[in-house]
């Protein structure tokens, strides 16, 4: 596959690993922000190939993982009590709510459908005018344009039975929150490539300056990740801190203008609660008042008074990079992909599930 196979070349991977080994003298903790990067690191076995003084710390960039439990409860409530057609991206439906996941709601008779695109949900609304259709619009900046576009389309066509239950979160405020934590041990960031493909690079300069920390916007293939790590280590070893773009084949400095325009039309920046982390100011998107009739939380009366998180789940510390999944007492025992306590064990991009599925400990190949 063009633009894929060349970024999985064993020869280039070898060469990059050699270069990293040559220049890496200090002990460095590098956080890959995006769950897609975590997934790729473990799936390709890269963690077992890096020199031991380079530690990868897994960030909060898994949209499924940071969606607060009360929002899952709202989705379940809408599906069961309001009997809406609840449409969702696939990996969201297994995330446990206070009482049940959307998958369990489905087995109890709720109409829960897995879609790839919110525009499909608009189509379902068009074809089922007698039913209310709600799209569970989660994600980072990456999925925001498509979710915004679905509202724009529905509005343009006069479709009144469509709304979104939104839980959009933003990457830069999360990086800021991680860095401002006094226990933070992150020396550098691999920036989330696809988020920057939408939003561009400008938002990251203030973080680089404020915390004097290298940020290298990085892609997802093995060669991308190793090149990003190499660029980061090079800065760290020289005592530099700057914003660099490893993923230039996809990320442009100013991002994707039409996508940003769609976001700006529908969403405004609001405070957001992050599962396991708590509320972060100005860290997400909410639907603008002008489009409130497409906002499921305003359209429906939602009663989720009993909403609560499992207090034994350490996902907050894991997502802030404070502990590795395998040091969580529940990991692999009380908490498994079949019976997850927290969201990072559900999504294949979640740090816990990634470690569970691909972990090397049993084979003696694990290193962290």
């Amino acid at each position: 596959m063009k633009y894929v196979s060349e970024f999985r070349s064993p020869e280039i991977v070898d060469a990059l690993l050699k270069q990293i080994r040559q220049i890496a003298k200090g002990n460095w903790n590098i956080m890959e922000v995006c769950g897609g990067q975590t997934h790729s690191l473990v799936k390709n076995g890269l963690l077992s190939m890096l020199p031991s003084n380079i530690q990868m710390v897994h960030g909060p960039g898994c949209p499924v993982c940071v969606t607060p439990v009360n929002l899952i409860d709202k989705a379940v409530y809408l599906a069961i009590e309001q009997k809406v057609i609840l449409c969702s991206y696939g990996d969201m439906i297994r995330v446990p709510g206070s009482n049940m996941s959307l998958l369990e709601a489905k087995s109890k008779g709720a109409d829960v459908r897995i879609l790839y695109s919110p525009l499909e949900a608009v189509k379902i609304a068009r074809e089922n005018p007698e039913r209310e259709v709600v799209f569970f619009a989660v994600g980072f900046e990456t999925t925001a344009p498509a979710n915004a576009l679905s509202v724009i389309h529905a509005h343009r066509e006069g479709i009144r039975n469509y709304s979104i239950l939104t839980s959009h979160v933003l990457v830069p405020p999360a990086m800021d929150a991680i860095m401002s934590d006094s226990e933070c041990r992150v020396d550098a960031f691999l920036g989330a490539g696809h988020v920057c493909a939408i939003m561009g690079m400008q938002e990251y300069y203030p973080i680089v300056e404020k915390y004097k920390i290298p940020v290298v916007i990085t892609g997802f293939e093995p060669v991308d990740l190793l090149e990003g790590i190499f660029m980061t280590v090079k800065q760290l070893e020289c005592g530099q801190y700057k914003l660099e773009n490893q993923y230039a084949r996809v990320v442009e400095a100013n991002g994707n203008r039409p996508a940003i325009k769609a976001i700006d039309e529908i969403f405004e920046v609001t405070n957001r609660e992050w599962r396991g982390i708590g509320e972060i100011p100005c860290s997400g998107y909410g639907v603008k008042a002008k489009y409130s009739s497409y906002d499921a939380t305003r359209k429906f009366k939602i009663d989720i008074s009993g909403s609560h998180e499992d207090l034994t789940c350490l996902s907050g510390d894991i997502m802030k990079g404070k502990i590795k999944p395998r040091y969580c007492p529940n990991f692999g025992e009380k908490c498994t992909p079949v019976h997850p306590l927290g969201a990072p064990m559900v999504s294949s991009e979640g740090a816990c599930a990634a470690y569970y599925h691909f972990n090397m400990s049993a084979a003696g190949m694990y290193r962290d």
Partner: protein, 345 residues
Amino acid sequence: MNLSCPIPKFDFDTINLGHGSGGTLTSQLLDAGVFKLLENDLLNKKHDGAVFSLNGKVAMSTDTYVVSPVFFEGGNIGDLAVNGTVNDLAMCGAAAKYLTLSFVLEEGLKMTEFWEILVSIKTACDAAGVIVITGDTKVVERGKGDKIFINTTGIGLVHPRANIDIDNIKPGDRIILSGPLARHGITIISHREGLQFETTISSDTRPLNQIVSALLDEFGEYIHLLRDPTRGGLATVLNEIAAQANLGISISQKNIPVEEEVDGACEMLGFDPLYVANEGLFVAIVDASIAGELLKRLQAWEYGAMAGIVGEVTADHPCKVIMKSTIGGHRVVNMLAGEQLPRIC
């Protein structure tokens, strides 16, 4: 669809509850449809069961088919129901001889669709060299089924040289995969609501009994284990084998065949081809001494061009499947917790 089998004249365009009543409509459906198309001496008795003799060691297998959509690129639920059971027997080292065939039809199923499925069953039976000798038909109310469910049970004679047993596998044995992964699963998912995408990928459903029989003729007891990686894919089958045998399995991603278009679809969907279903593939765990020869024989088969030795059995890491990635890293390949779900981004 086989054009030499024109649809007979039925009194109704769709299946209704009467077709499952056991009365006149059932007889019409069976006489004009099932019995006529699939006729053979045993089925023609139209009795509640079939009476026959078999000499030798016998294998038996049963499976129920509930695939949705019922029709897909490369086949339909009909061929699947025949090939699936024929292949389960082949994995026991047996050549399927007789099948039972039971339908659960949903009220409202179009007669033309039912006929198309029946014709596929007939074609698949002919290709695999099996006959249907008895069966059953039930009809459920609209909304209580998904067009059609099929159960087939097969019985077959075990190859005289076959000695297929989990206890036979040992460290050093080679793991051979008969063709490229994930075609069936990706074909099916490409039809699902909300996930549709245009593709030329087709299901790999096909009978495996002839090739397995030919391999057993030549390599007999050197073939230690056969499994078809259907639901759950290659990863699941290898994990089951590792756990049952209490041995480790090492595989190399580089040697695992996946067609480029299938690989691309998996990338797009966020699926791992190791976990995607197949319908016309098998994994053979064979003695290292004949692995090369067996592979050559398999590659000469019309569907075997991409067959490869994908790994080996090891005494290290018992019960674990470890894969060396294309770039040289290692990872554990686990069992899947539930269904593979498409990722958000």
